[in-house]
């Protein structure tokens, strides 16, 4: 995909003394456990390739130890990849020299960390303007920009506080503001909300959704929380032992899990909240079926479609993005999804 914001090709990370030498050898076919037992090497990320479109929220998820953190760090080379390429727009990050890489980190990619990573000796406003300071912007400009960001994340009035005087949620807002202050092309989040309690977490998720609407950044978002992934992601990539198991939209992942690992993951998800009509409709018997009945797009979520469908006697027609008639649903199709999760 030439116009991808971020393109990752055949990315590998092997931890261990002779990682480079392993690339291309049959040893890499071994499972993680076997390889570790054999040579003490640990596979962090195994042959990962994906593209992220501009403005997309791309969620990476997997259990603990599946290589999510390693993956985001490979992208900006906080961890050096063992092999593979990372393209940021037209630029190849993997072959860049230190100097240019720093430039990229200063201007084009920002990161939000699980434990916030705020500098305790700096006030909120100085934390937010830290990146700008490093970039060498003059004081009045970075102040103004930082103030805007503080306002944007809803922390007006806390500029002069120190991080440890704020609650966890507020601290992560500072982290967000700091990341946004650089006006990067891509924002990367490494489990930014898993240290927060559930209510605050929901607030922060909504915050990210709002910010995404307002600033429209490309985001790579790591989480091990499926609900979060489904809520935020345009697409979700599922990792296990460093390898990709599935990449798909939330409804694809829920409706068509690639294997038992993913199925297990999604088994507890309230399907009616995720599945769209595309996954529950059946193909029309003929192009005339249900003519005159109400019409819904196939991207409508089942829960949202329920009222219309149940209120209608008989069928509802489903159309795709091109407004072509692609299927029909009736009460029973809807109820099957809803009732399934009651059981």
């Amino acid at each position: 995909m030439a116009d991808a914001a971020l393109s990752v090709q055949n990315l590998w990370k092997v931890f261990g003394p002779n990682a480079e030498k392993l690339i291309g050898t049959p040893d890499l076919e071994l499972s993680r456990k076997e390889l570790q037992a054999k040579s003490g090497h640990v596979i962090g990320v195994r042959d990962v390739s994906f593209d992220v479109a501009p403005g997309e929220v791309f969620v990476v998820m997997g259990l603990s130890g599946s290589g999510k953190s390693t993956l985001v760090r490979l992208i900006t080379r906080l961890i050096e990849p063992t092999s593979g390429t990372v393209m940021l727009g037209e630029e190849n990050l993997t072959t860049m020299d230190e100097e240019k890489l720093r430039e990229v980190r200063r201007k084009r990619v920002s990161m939000v960390f699980q434990h916030f990573g705020l500098l305790p000796h700096r006030k909120v406003i100085d934390n937010v303007s830290f990146g700008l300071e490093i970039r060498g912007e003059d004081k009045t400009r970075r102040r103004a920009r930082a103030q805007n960001m503080v306002d944007l994340v809803g922390l007006s009035g806390y500029e002069q506080n120190f991080p440890d005087q704020l609650s966890g949620g507020m601290q992560q807002r500072v982290g967000l503001a700091r990341a946004l202050a650089n006006d990067p092309d891509i924002l990367m989040f490494d489990e930014p909300f898993s240290a927060l309690d559930p209510l605050i977490r929901r607030d922060m998720q909504n915050e990210v959704i709002r910010l995404h609407h307002e600033v429209g950044k490309t985001m790579v978002f790591i989480t091990h929380d499926l609900a979060e992934a489904l809520k935020l992601g345009d697409r979700i990539m599922i990792l296990r032992d460093g390898a990709i198991i599935q990449i798909g939209t939330p409804d694809e992942v829920v409706a068509a899990p690639a294997d038992d690992y993913v199925k297990d993951f999604v088994s507890d998800v309230p399907k009616s909240h995720v599945l769209t009509l595309k996954w529950v409709m059946r193909p029309p018997a003929n192009s005339e079926e249900g003519i005159g009945a109400p019409t819904l797009p196939d991207t409508t979520i089942v829960r949202d479609a329920a009222r219309t469908v149940l209120a209608t006697d008989g069928l509802v027609r489903v159309v795709n993005a091109q407004d072509e008639f692609v299927g029909v649903v009736d009460d029973e199709d809807i109820l099957r999804v809803v009732v399934a999760e009651e059981g």
Partner: protein
């Protein structure tokens, strides 16, 4: 586990399908007891032969060679490149010290008084106290400085401050960069770490002699050894501070695109600042401690009058300067601690409103400047009026001490005799009357039994060195004292430490005393010990105990406290009595801490054994002390110093290897005791 410890064996139970039972590992005390019994048996038949006693004035050829080497070095002062460099350094140091002395401590010819008199110095110091800390510290500084003058030791006190000041400034200049290097660079650390280990396990006292050779008797040597003693804690703590900056922070820095240098300046150093200031505190106190001891090489300062008093066994005279040293220690400790907390308080809007604070600073600065001017012009403000307090106290104290000593002698006397006759004499007889080959073989065997090959090799090397330097017999006498003091130290440490760990109130009561004990320069301990017990080996032991016990007690207390609450609850619920809880659970589980406490205790005791050479402890310590004062005994003094080093290394290696069951514990960073012994 040491290599000598038998591997755990799985013993097959009688029934084939019975679960295998883990065999009790053979306790190491059995072979140890066997070795000791053998030693005793052979001793019985051979005692008094081959003991390598060196009579009072005798010297061995090795010692004469050493002295000749020194003479050659001194003769080559102009040509030998090492001597030329150290000579130039020494000149620079001496120049700096004497310049500062002329500013605040001694008459600056042709002036009859220093450039700045007591009023000016006191005012400036008080102002600094306020500027770096708060008004309470300012008052403390004021009081301390006034007492320097009031008790008649103004000049000595200023000298000591100068020595400490120079040593601390140099420590900062050397220690922080090295600390940063060690904290950020693994390879650099692997070089720096062993050097620090060496510096900190060595009784510093023993490298006074070689330093004197290169820097000459006087202030230059005093500064150098103070620096050598004071800088390791700063390097270690700075490195530790840099290393413990959370990795996330480093990652944040990198992800934002900081250069290495920016990362260091904007992230790592600010985050490590607090820790580094703790290091500054330790370094300052260590410098004070060593600068006092440096009076042995004629370093200026309050140590001198203490030493003079001790030399003539006049504790009354030594008492006042001793107390002033304590006052200075408390002042420096509190001031550096408060200074480290101030930054935070200010940044968080605590303390006075900034404008008022600035006004007071400026006002105070002006006042201090005026005081300096006055003290340059009027004699009363330049020379502290003679109040005679010091002399009065010295005399009064002399009487009081005599009275106390007399009253206590029914207690102290028997106590002293009990320890001396029941413990010290037999052990000393055993060690020093063994033929050298017997003692050496037995010690080597013990090392092997306790610590395996890795303990045996250094032990044999050290033993050979001790024989080589020709002070074998004295080494055995010192070893006996060291062992007795260490045993007593551990008894105290276990009793007090367990009490502290089990009872919070005991901890709250005792810990501040221990902290204070660790703040006081070691030298000062000698004064009360000498007063109570007179010059004897026992006095040396008591002083060593006072010096070593706080460290060991804390280690034991923290170790026992480390036994988890859940474990203790389970034990209590099983109905164990208090003694059973302590003996069967708490002490065994705190074994690593006990080992560490013993090792630290040993090193501290050994270090103190040198210093107490001058209060009648005799043996190696005495040889070293004499080495300072008599030119022709330099070789012997050096040999004694080297022997102490060897003794220290030997004990340390055996103890370390024996305790390797818990290697982590050794690496753990004791924040309150990073300064090694003297």
């Amino acid at each position: 586990m040491s290599t000598a410890a038998p591997p755990k064996v799985i013993r097959q139970g009688p029934a084939p399908d019975a679960p295998p039972v883990l065999a009790e590992p053979t306790p190491r005390w059995k072979p140890v007891a066997v070795v000791l019994l053998l030693w005793l048996a052979v001793w019985w038949f051979t005692k008094g032969t081959d003991t390598l006693v060196l009579a009072g004035r005798d010297r061995t050829p090795v010692m004469d060679t050493l002295a000749a080497f020194r003479d050659r070095m001194i003769a080559g002062r102009e040509s030998n490149p090492v001597m030329v460099v150290t000579g130039a350094l020494a000149d620079a140091l001496r120049g700096t010290v004497s310049f500062l002395q002329r500013v605040i401590s001694i008459p600056d010819d042709p002036r009859p008084v220093p450039q700045i008199g007591w009023l000016g110095v006191t005012a400036v110091a008080t102002w600094v106290g306020y500027a770096v800390a708060n008004w309470r510290i300012a008052l403390l500084v004021l009081g301390t400085f006034l007492s320097f003058g009031a008790f008649g030791y103004w000049s000595h006190s200023m000298d000591l401050l100068i020595m400490v000041g120079i040593a601390v400034v140099l420590s900062l200049a050397v220690g922080i960069p090295l600390g940063i290097l060690a904290g950020t660079n693994k390879r650099a650390n692997s070089i720096i770490e062993p050097v620090l280990d060496f510096l900190q396990t060595m009784p510093t006292f023993v490298y006074l002699l070689p330093i004197v050779l290169f820097f000459g008797i006087g202030s230059a040597s005093a500064v150098v050894c103070t620096l050598l003693y004071a800088v390791p804690p700063l390097i270690r703590i700075s490195a530790h501070g840099i290393r413990t900056v959370p990795p996330t922070m480093v990652e944040v820095a990198d992800s934002i695109g900081l250069t290495r240098w920016q990362r260091l300046l904007k992230v790592q150093l600010p985050l490590a600042k607090r820790t580094i200031i703790v290091g500054l505190n330790q370094t300052t106190l260590a410098a004070l401690s060593m600068a006092t001891i440096a009076s042995f090489v004629n370093g200026p300062g309050l140590g001198k009058p203490v030493l003079d008093g001790l030399r003539i066994n006049d504790t009354g005279t030594a008492l006042v300067p001793g107390l002033l040293i304590v006052a200075m220690a408390i002042m420096l400790d509190r001031a550096t601690t408060a200074a480290s907390e101030r930054g935070d308080i200010m940044a968080r809007g605590g303390g006075l409103p900034p404008r008022l604070h600035r006004a007071i600073l400026i006002g105070g600065g002006v006042l201090a400047a005026v005081a300096v001017m006055i003290s340059r012009q009027s004699l009363w403000a330049a020379e502290f009026p003679d109040l005679g307090w010091g002399r009065a106290i010295a005399k009064g104290a002399g009487d009081v001490i005599t009275a106390i000593t007399d009253t206590l002698s029914p207690i102290t006397g028997p106590f002293k005799d009990a320890i001396t006759y029941a413990l010290l004499n037999p052990l000393q007889a055993f060690l020093s009357e063994s033929p050298w080959w017997l003692a050496a073989a037995a010690i080597a065997l013990l090392a092997y039994v306790l610590g395996g090959l890795r303990a045996l090799v250094p032990t044999v090397v050290c033993l050979a060195g001790m024989v080589f330097f020709g002070l074998w017999n004295n080494a055995m006498v010192t070893l006996a004292m060291t062992l007795v003091a260490t045993i007593l130290c551990m008894v105290i440490a276990v009793v007090v430490g367990v009490a502290m760990a089990r009872k919070r109130s005991a901890d709250l009561l005792i810990r501040p005393i221990l902290d204070a004990g660790q703040t006081i320069p070691a030298f000062v301990y000698l004064i009360p010990c000498l007063a109570l017990f007179g010059p004897s080996r026992f006095t040396g032991i008591v002083a060593a105990l006072a010096y070593a016990a706080p460290v060991s007690i804390k280690l034991v207390a923290d170790g026992v406290k480390g036994v988890s609450a859940t474990t203790m609850e389970a034990v209590r619920s099983s109905g164990a009595s208090t003694m059973q809880q302590i003996r069967k659970v708490q002490l065994p589980m705190a074994k690593a801490s006990l080992m560490l406490a013993t090792n630290q205790g040993l090193l501290f005791v050994l270090a103190m054994a040198v210093i107490s050479g001058m209060v009648g402890a005799g043996a190696l310590g005495y040889d070293v002390v004499i080495g300072f004062s008599r030119s022709e005994e330099w070789g012997k003094g050096f040999a004694a110093g080297a022997t102490i080093v060897l003794l220290g290394i030997m004990i340390d290696r055996i103890a370390r290897r024996a305790a390797e069951a818990a290697p982590d514990q050794w690496k753990r960073f004791p924040m309150r005791a990073p300064t090694g012994p003297f």
